[in-house]
């Protein structure tokens, strides 16, 4: 923490001045250490602290869910109780007391909204702080020919605003909060929910199945190209509230959809558990592009606080020639445990994984992907860029598996690690399991440091130390950043720079 901030520019009584100093100090600390470190005052309605069957029933009742959904949750809860938290990742995970957390919080009940004008101004202000003003997006949407961004605003687990719904509906696209979808499209949800990530897939997925609070459902019908990028901005706001998002996206035959997910969280001392599940299903000739920028609170310089992010993301290329592409920029969270994967069952289906994972201070990330090739002629590409600074640890863990009946599979993997300083770690753990001799698998890996030559060269041209690091790091990550939709690319570059502040010199 900084102790040298001078604030006494005008005279005041000593004790008052001391207090002012303390306040200014606190504000300065906050501002300097975490750009999105603020919180807002929206009234919460909590489920009682702790986790048991009653908690599950409470959530299900709050959501006015049908019986089958409650049964599914309860089954998941019982399975979860018999499971153990996984310990195979290269992560040092503190004990999590699941009984010492809230599992449900929602903003005060509001009537359904017709337009953004009806949205709580507090929420709009929050988005503006994030640099993503909805108001501006509306203006953008009004410009003829401009690409439109639909925002399903998830605010503390409950959808409060859904925009562009009508236009999407005209195209036949269903874009709902998952709670709404469960009520309005039960058959569709039931057909796919838990089919890509089964309830008992892993500890955190099972927990999510039991207590997921809300999330997003997208269905793009046969032959429809979704007329706009779909995006969801998540924010975790309530102290000690775990966030359990559930996302299900189905692209029917020949459909196309691009989905953006961006996250940032206010600063809290308490650790916040996040265990989301995302399931994607692509039928014949369908394509899903899923992009994430994740900037949750990473904890302070000493490793105190920060989000625990245990996410299960998996896509099923069920149909022939289907394609699923994951792009992620992960800069936040104290602990990241995340492996967006593709199950390539369709013939000639395609899976892609583009990742930038940046860790600083005491952050730990164990992230990567799984490409499961079951379909003939299926292909996958993995580009992973790990950036480690401070005392952080950054692991790429990836599996490429080729089943016995999958002829002519191809995979290309490139894993590059960049180290800043000499107290951080970068690790690459590739698993390759090939049961068909016709497969062609390539794996390339590099580890490098930012060289003194590069730093001096950039500084001699006029960049200061942090600008030089930011430029070199963004260059390193470019192959991934260019896969992001325009809306995210600039934000992502800014994030990389912000996340590395103070890591040099």
């Amino acid at each position: 923490m900084t102790d040298n901030i001078k604030t006494d520019t005008h005279p005041a009584p000593l004790d008052e001045r001391a207090q002012m100093n303390a306040e200014a100090q606190a504000a300065a600390d906050k501002a300097s250490t975490y750009e999105h470190g603020w919180s807002s005052d929206i009234e919460q309605e909590f489920a009682e602290k702790g986790l048991n069957e009653d908690t599950v029933r409470f959530i299900s009742a709050k959501k006015e869910e049908p019986e089958w959904m409650l049964d599914w949750r309860l089954k998941a809860f019982r399975i979860w109780q018999d499971m153990e938290s996984p310990d195979w990742a290269k992560l040092d995970i503190p004990m999590i007391d699941y009984q010492d957390a809230y599992y449900y919080a929602e903003p005060k009940k509001k009537p359904e909204l017709d337009s953004l004008d009806d949205v709580d101004p507090e929420i709009l202000r929050v988005y503006e702080k994030l640099g993503i003003p909805i108001a501006e997006q509306e203006v953008l949407a009004g410009v003829k020919g401009a690409r439109k961004v639909a925002v399903d605003a998830v605010f503390d687990s409950v959808s409060v605003a859904t925009t562009f719904r009508e236009e999407l509906e005209a195209a036949g696209v269903i874009f709902r909060s998952i709670s709404e979808a469960i009520r309005e499209y039960p058959d569709l949800v039931r057909k796919y929910l838990g089919k890509v990530v089964p309830v008992k897939d892993n500890y955190f997925a099972a927990l999510n199945c039991a207590v997921f609070s809300d999330g997003t459902f997208v269905y793009v019908p046969e032959g429809v190209r979704c007329p706009m990028e779909l995006s969801t901005y998540f924010r975790i706001n309530a102290e000690n509230t775990g966030q359990f998002e559930r996302t299900l996206i189905v692209a029917d035959k020949g459909a196309y959809v691009s989905y953006l997910e961006g996250c940032t969280a206010p600063q809290r001392d308490e650790n916040q558990l996040h265990a989301a599940v995302v399931e994607l299903v692509a039928l014949d000739d369908a394509e899903i592009k899923y992009s994430t920028v994740q900037n949750w609170y990473p904890g302070d310089e000493n490793g105190k606080g920060g989000i625990y992010n245990f996410v299960t993301k998996r896509g099923l290329c069920a149909g022939a020639r289907s394609k699923i592409s994951w792009t992620q920029v992960e800069t936040g969270s104290a602990i990241t445990w995340k492996y967006p994967s593709c199950v390539l069952n369709g013939e000639n289906s395609v899976g892609e994984f583009y990742s930038v994972a940046l860790t600083n201070n005491h952050q730990q990330a164990d992230t990567g992907t799984k490409m499961i090739h079951n379909g003939k002629g299926s292909r996958s590409t993995i580009i992973s860029k790990g950036i480690s600074a401070g005392k952080s640890d950054n692991t790429y863990r990836g599996l490429v598996r080729v089943g016995p009946n999958a002829e002519n599979v191809r995979n290309f993997t490139q894993c590059d690690s960049l180290l800043l300083g000499d107290t951080c770690g970068a690790h690459t753990v590739p698993y390759i399991e090939v049961k068909n001799p016709t497969a062609q698998i390539e794996h390339e890996a590099t580890t490098s440091k930012i060289s003194d030559d590069q730093m001096f060269y950039a500084q001699q041209r006029g960049l200061d130390e942090e600008e030089a690091v930011s430029l070199i790091v963004n260059g390193f990550a470019k192959d991934v950043l260019k896969e992001l939709p325009m809306e995210f690319a600039v934000e992502a570059q800014k994030l990389l720079a912000i996340s590395l502040e103070g890591s040099v010199g």
């Binding site: 060269y457 950039a458 500084q459 041209r461 006029g462 960049l463 260059g475 390193f476």
Partner: protein, 247 residues
């Protein structure tokens, strides 16, 4: 413009510069020649402010300001440019992005408005044409996959865009064929021949000095300037070698 007095500098425990003095005024071109290991590149790095080079004695001022305590980017913003003997590759960063950010960062330090995208491209086109460099080269990553000659021309394009007051060019002529040497030479003249600017050429060979006529030639040996003369000194060095001349 640049005034160096009794400069001593070390790398680790080894003293490389041992009392070097040199004064360069606006409108002048100086050449420093000298045998390998004399300290020519060290002088360039010390003036640029590179880490690991420690000044133990003496001073260096630029337009009256002590530059030795400044960070490299602060010296750059004052108008000091270093042409690198071995230009560095920065993968994934285009030349245009690199130079625009560098230039605007310099302008910010000088309280000048940043250049817009359009203004910058216009400037870059003009300077690239001067060095007969294809704009497509500027869209590629900084020095990645460039030949030796292309890297050196790229240094001169950068110099043109950043428009420094003083350019220190460290063996900019090495690795250039005859045509490229002419292009680079005329580029240096076009960009830097100005009564408000100055150039310090570090070179081994007369041939660059045929293109860029120096006003003064210095011989650097064992960490100090041992002889100073006019352009004829370079010719004499070429004929007789350093040992005979510097003895």
């Amino acid at each position: 413009m640049l005034k160096i007095e009794n400069l001593h500098a070390t790398i680790g425990d080894t003293e490389i510069l041992k009392g070097l003095s040199l004064e360069i005024n606006a409108g002048e071109v100086h050449a420093i020649m000298g045998p390998n290991g004399a300290g020519k590149s060290t002088l360039a790095y010390v003036l640029g402010g590179r880490d690991g080079y420690e000044v133990t004695e003496g001073s260096a001022t630029f337009n009256g300001q002590d530059i030795l305590d400044m960070d490299p980017h602060e010296r750059a913003a004052l108008g000091l440019f270093l042409g690198f003997q071995y230009p560095v590759e920065i993968p994934g960063v285009s030349n245009l992005q690199f130079l625009r950010e560098s230039l605007n960062s310099q302008r910010k330090s000088r309280d000048e408005e940043p250049l817009s995208g359009g203004e910058f491209i216009k400037l870059a086109k003009e300077k690239a044409a001067l060095l007969k460099m294809d704009m497509d080269m500027l869209k590629r990553a900084v020095n990645v996959g460039f030949s030796g000659g292309e890297k050196k021309r790229n240094e001169m394009v950068q110099m043109g865009i950043l428009n420094p007051e003083l350019a220190i060019l460290d063996e900019t002529d090495s690795g250039l064929d005859i045509d490229a040497l002419r292009t680079v030479g005329s580029g240096i003249n076009a960009i830097m021949r100005d009564e408000k600017k100055a150039v310090l050429l570090i070179t081994h060979y007369q041939r660059l000095l045929d293109e860029v006529q120096p006003d003064y030639v210095h011989v650097l040996a064992k960490g100090r300037i041992v002889k100073t003369g006019g352009p004829e000194l370079a010719l004499q060095l070429e004929e007789q070698g350093y040992e005979a001349v510097a003895a």
